[in-house]
């Protein structure tokens, strides 16, 4: 599906000038990065309610996938911005929001890797940060509106193939993220089991 959407975007959905085609990677990764944050939120609430380590593992996996997506989002955004407005970065509302999204994920991962001590403590601290960080996303979206905007309100996709390629891209990256989260969850679960067995 990813290949098909890339092929469609490049063969049928070409947008001029050529750098703008990066939008086909940009929009799907932005949507999926936000969705990963929703997963982190749900898993964090789940952990705080039930104290089951499975929830914590899911939050951790989703945060890692989200970090990669947010990095892709920001990098493709920078390339697009350079092609469109001639600057790599400018403090406009959406750019600030996307930047903060990346920072929140990175801080989450740093936090997770640096807490020593009992596992439940690490999980609890990360869950609290995950919930508060999620609340920060709409907050920064509103607050960044206090700054003048240069970002295009809505990118218009004129032709049918362009739209289809975009939707396929969104679908493909969503499935890809879900698979990555699932795989990472599996790895972390096995790792946990191994640690428990070697400890006992």
């Amino acid at each position: 599906m990813l290949l098909a959407s890339t092929w469609m975007a490049l063969m049928l959905g070409q947008i001029e000038p050529v750098q703008r085609n990066i939008i086909y990677a940009h929009i799907p990764s932005s949507i999926c990065a936000l969705l990963c944050f929703v997963v982190v939120l749900v898993a964090s609430i789940g952990y705080l309610r039930t104290s089951k380590p499975q929830w914590d593992i899911v939050a951790s996996a989703a945060a890692e996938v989200g970090t990669i997506l947010a990095t892709v989002l920001n990098l493709t955004g920078m390339i697009f911005s350079r092609a469109e407005w001639g600057v790599w970065w400018t403090p406009s509302p959406r750019l600030i929001s996307a930047g903060l999204l990346w920072f929140l994920y990175v801080v989450y991962l740093i936090l997770r890797s640096s807490i020593r001590g009992p596992r439940y403590l690490q999980a609890r601290v990360c869950a609290v940060f995950g919930i508060i960080a999620f609340l920060d996303v709409p907050m920064v979206y509103i607050s960044a509106r206090f700054i003048p905007d240069v970002h295009r309100a809505n990118f218009s996709f004129e032709t049918g193939p362009q739209k289809l390629a975009l939707f396929m891209g969104i679908g493909a990256i969503m499935i890809l993220s879900a698979v990555f989260i699932w795989l990472k969850t599996d790895i972390l679960r096995d790792q946990n089991k191994l640690e428990r067995e070697s400890a006992s």
Partner: protein
């Protein structure tokens, strides 16, 4: 309800008395704040940037870092002789501890600001144009946001000491949205953005003083409530 406020008051007074006797936190905050202000004042002079623009920004930088210092201490003092367990075993709701510590941090930051704001105004040559009420409003709303988030995370640092070095980045990244309207409002108070220019341009919101304050009220309401609720879940053993 009366019992609730009595217990808040008891913890609050305890911490204030401890600080009055030890005088550890406020002097450190003031020295740090003055150092930040001094460095920025020197830098703005060297780079010949308008002091009216750097001054209000310097205020927020000083508040953020000095506030962090106070918040980290506020739970660190409970670590000695395992006082934290004593607090937790007291027959009070855990939310009470959060509220009391929040109030203590707020008072510390306010005392700090009473000293540092005139210092900034004098060294940067800022003119307030009689907008004292606006300044106090911005300061109080900003303080509440800084302390609300900081108090929760400094309590968590005490649970797992290994990430104490991360406290500043955690609190700063969460507070980042509030800093945009807060700086905007501060610039307007000191006349760095003229009133007739505020809200002009292609801003979706009218970026005027009132909407900046409104945003800060909303931010404080959301984060203080959520932090208060989460505090109980974090602290439970």
């Amino acid at each position: 309800m009366r019992y609730f406020w009595l217990s808040v008051k008891a913890i609050f007074l305890k911490d204030i008395v401890v600080e009055l006797r030890a005088r550890q936190v406020i002097p450190t905050m003031i020295v740090l704040g003055m150092l930040i202000v001094w460095i920025l004042r020197t830098a703005s002079e060297a780079a010949s940037i308008s002091a009216v623009v750097i001054g209000p920004a310097a205020l927020w930088i000083a508040f953020l870092f000095s506030g962090l210092l106070a918040q980290e201490r506020s739970f660190a003092v409970e670590q000695q002789n395992d006082c934290m367990y004593g607090l937790l075993m007291a027959p009070v709701d855990v939310g009470t501890i959060y509220l009391a510590k929040l109030l203590v941090n707020l008072v510390m930051l306010c005392i700090f600001e009473i000293i540092i704001v005139p210092v900034v105004m004098i060294s940067f040559g800022l003119d307030i144009h009689g907008r004292w009420a606006g300044l106090i409003g911005v300061l109080l709303l900003g303080n509440l946001g800084i302390c609300g988030v900081g108090t929760l995370f400094s309590a968590m640092v005490q649970l797992a000491r290994s990430f104490s070095a991360l406290l500043s980045i955690i609190v700063l990244v969460i507070l980042m949205p509030m800093m945009i309207p807060a700086t905007l409002a501060m610039l307007m108070v000191f006349g760095a953005i003229p009133d007739e220019l505020a809200g002009v341009g292609n801003m979706v919101f009218a970026g005027n003083f009132r909407s900046a304050l409104g945003y800060m009220v909303a931010f404080d309401a959301v984060f203080v409530t959520v932090c208060w609720l989460l505090f109980g879940l974090v602290i439970k053993e």
